[in-house]
């Protein structure tokens, strides 16, 4: 079902007229209200009135995560806080999160695109939606929640964790739709196996999975184990949260970007040049309608390509392929963004820790695990076991406090972590995605 036919199936020429009008309005709002943006545009002599066509977007400077960090927490909001009704945050590279704000209308826009996304994935009014995305500062839980309510579904705001209880509720309430990270869905499936739950007796029909990279193999596995159709959703908190793009249940080939709100470009990550349509590169978004925290040409660091061929579902919006990689070293572990620099930050704060470490990511069963190897210097070493255990516990706790995720700490002998001459190889990702 198409939730908002007027926009989602709008003829391309008409859509481009709408996008241009919104783009002009966006650039004007940002230029006159946000000093850091104005300074960036003045540096290259750009004025809002220079935007005359959609192609002129390419003349505007990019926005990066560093720029967001430099203006932490509210420096890029276009409106005073008395018009901002909500903030969310995602983890940043140095411990400071990236903060995003929403006006009342932004919350409505978000619910709108999320309702479209759910409808696009085959969810409808009357469905019992089991929302296992985390509720809180993370955009996943509340974003999906508002969209599902707008759609008219019955939402179970279960959030993450307490898997056995989740399964009981899923059985008793007759959940039709599961919203979660793909790895958590597999965890649920495995817990069901352990509990001896007959999955064919569940009412699950559709799973809407996102917030971390996953493969086609994983799709098959989770579909088989939970007896549902697994659909891919994409979003990031900087742009709005979940609901930036969504796979349609009809084609299941690429995710439709809700282009009347989010305008995509694909660039060469090294040169910044816009690439010809269909080529793979870094995904860049401009938020056309967001009020409190709009972004112009935000570099997502996700690698994908766009598909312009018309889709069988009737939507005219372009599609983006599954994310195939990142331009930076950010890791997504159990839905949480982790930067190696965060781990480094913790280690360097502990006296005696050498600046040599390695992060090893594995997928054990369905769960991603992170191991941090730390070299034991003479200064850290003790002939007593309890002191070394205290040390590894301390590192573990400090990492958990910073990134919110538990990792295993392994103490290794000095000089055993491979030294590199250029960029250190900090991460070994053994997950097969």
């Amino acid at each position: 079902m198409i939730w908002n036919e007027e926009f989602e199936s709008m003829p391309r020429e008409q859509l481009e007229i709408l996008q241009l009008r919104r783009l002009k309005d966006l650039v004007e709002r940002v230029y006159y209200r946000v000093k850091p943006y104005r300074e960036k545009m003045d540096e290259i002599g750009m004025k809002p009135e220079h935007i005359k066509s959609l192609a002129d977007l390419q003349k505007l400077p990019f926005t990066t995560k560093d720029f967001l960090r430099d203006n932490y927490p509210f420096g890029l909001f276009t409106l005073p806080l008395d018009q901002v009704v909500r903030v969310h945050a995602s983890s940043g590279t140095t411990g400071k999160p990236t903060v995003v704000g929403y006006t009342r209308r932004d919350i409505e826009t978000w619910a709108e695109v999320m309702a479209r996304a759910l409808a696009c994935g085959g969810v409808h009014r009357g469905d019992v939606v089991h929302n296992a995305y985390g509720y809180g500062l993370f955009t996943g839980g509340l974003g999906a929640h508002y969209g599902a309510e707008k759609l008219g579904a019955t939402v179970i705001p279960i959030s993450g964790g307490q898997t056995k209880r989740q399964i009981m509720i899923m059985q008793d309430f007759g959940s039709n739709v599961l919203l979660s990270t793909p790895s958590y869905a597999l965890n649920i499936a495995e817990t069901m196996e352990d509990m001896g739950v007959d999955t064919s007796k569940l009412s699950l029909r559709v799973g809407i999975f996102g917030a971390e990279p996953w493969s086609e193999n994983m799709r098959e596995e989770v579909e088989k184990k939970l007896g549902l159709q697994a659909i891919d959703i994409y979003g990031l908190s900087e742009i709005i949260g979940p609901g930036v793009s969504m796979e349609c249940i009809e084609a299941q080939h690429g995710m439709h970007i809700f282009e009347d709100h989010f305008m995509p470009e694909i660039i060469d990550p090294d040169t910044g040049q816009v690439l010809p349509m269909g080529e793979a590169g870094e995904l860049v978004f401009t938020t056309l309608t967001k009020q409190a925290f709009p972004l112009i040409r935000y570099r997502t660091k996700d690698i994908t390509r766009l598909i312009t061929e018309p889709c069988v579902c009737g939507r005219t919006f372009v599609r983006m392929e599954k994310i195939t990689g990142r331009t930076d070293d950010m890791l997504i572990i159990r839905g949480v963004n982790v930067f190696p620099t965060q781990v480094e930050h913790v280690l360097m704060g502990i006296e005696g820790v050498e600046p040599h470490y390695q992060i090893i990511v594995n997928r054990e069963g369905s769960m991603d695990t992170m191991e941090v190897q730390v070299e034991v210097s003479e200064q850290l070493f003790s002939d007593e076991v309890k002191n070394l255990e205290k040390l590894s516990k301390r590192i573990q706790t400090e990492i958990k406090d910073l990134i919110g995720s538990t990792c295993k700490i392994t103490l290794v002998e000095p000089k055993t972590i491979q030294r590199s001459e250029g960029k250190a190889k900090r991460v070994i990702d053994n997950r097969k995605i």
């Binding site: 070493f381 003790s382 002939d383 007593e384 076991v385 103490l411 002998e413 000095p414 000089k415």
Partner: protein, 143 residues
């Protein structure tokens, strides 16, 4: 009254202990006493050798993390109750043992107990007052 012990960090992978003993043997260093503390993730090898400084240097050159600690060696009769008597004294004095290990002297009727205490000076006083014989570093090295 104090004995120097060296401790070496052992990563939990095969061949590490062999590498240490080979380095010592290649340099003609004799091990007098040894114990390994192991956890699920790593181990700590504790050694008393005939030449502590040389062993430390050799192992560091091989890339190992080496630490030094002071332990106390106690001699008891090699018969039932020998260890129990010493531990009773320590317990009564409220002295906490961090760890200990033992070996039997080859040319006598005695056993040697190696103790690691938080406060070795206090331990020496208590043990001596109880009439327990404490070995010097020289005595242990020449066993």
């Amino acid at each position: 009254m104090k004995v120097d012990q060296i401790a070496v960090f052992l990563e939990n992978k095969s061949g590490r202990l062999a590498a240490i003993t080979k380095a010592l043997s290649d340099n003609n260093i004799n091990i007098r006493a040894l114990s390994v503390a192991d956890t699920a993730d790593f181990g700590i090898l504790r050694l008393i050798v005939d030449d502590t400084d040389k062993a430390t240097r050799v192992l560091k050159e091989e890339g190992f993390t080496v630490g030094k600690a002071v332990v106390i060696a106690v001699e008891v009769a090699d018969r039932p109750g020998g260890l129990a008597k010493v531990l009773a004294v320590l317990h009564e004095a409220g002295l906490n043992v961090e760890y200990m290990y033992a070996f039997v002297e080859k040319s006598s009727e005695n056993a040697v107990l190696i103790f690691r205490f938080d406060d070795p000076d206090m331990a020496i006083t208590i043990l001596q007052n109880a009439g327990i014989r404490i070995l010097t570093g020289e005595e242990v090295r020449s066993i």
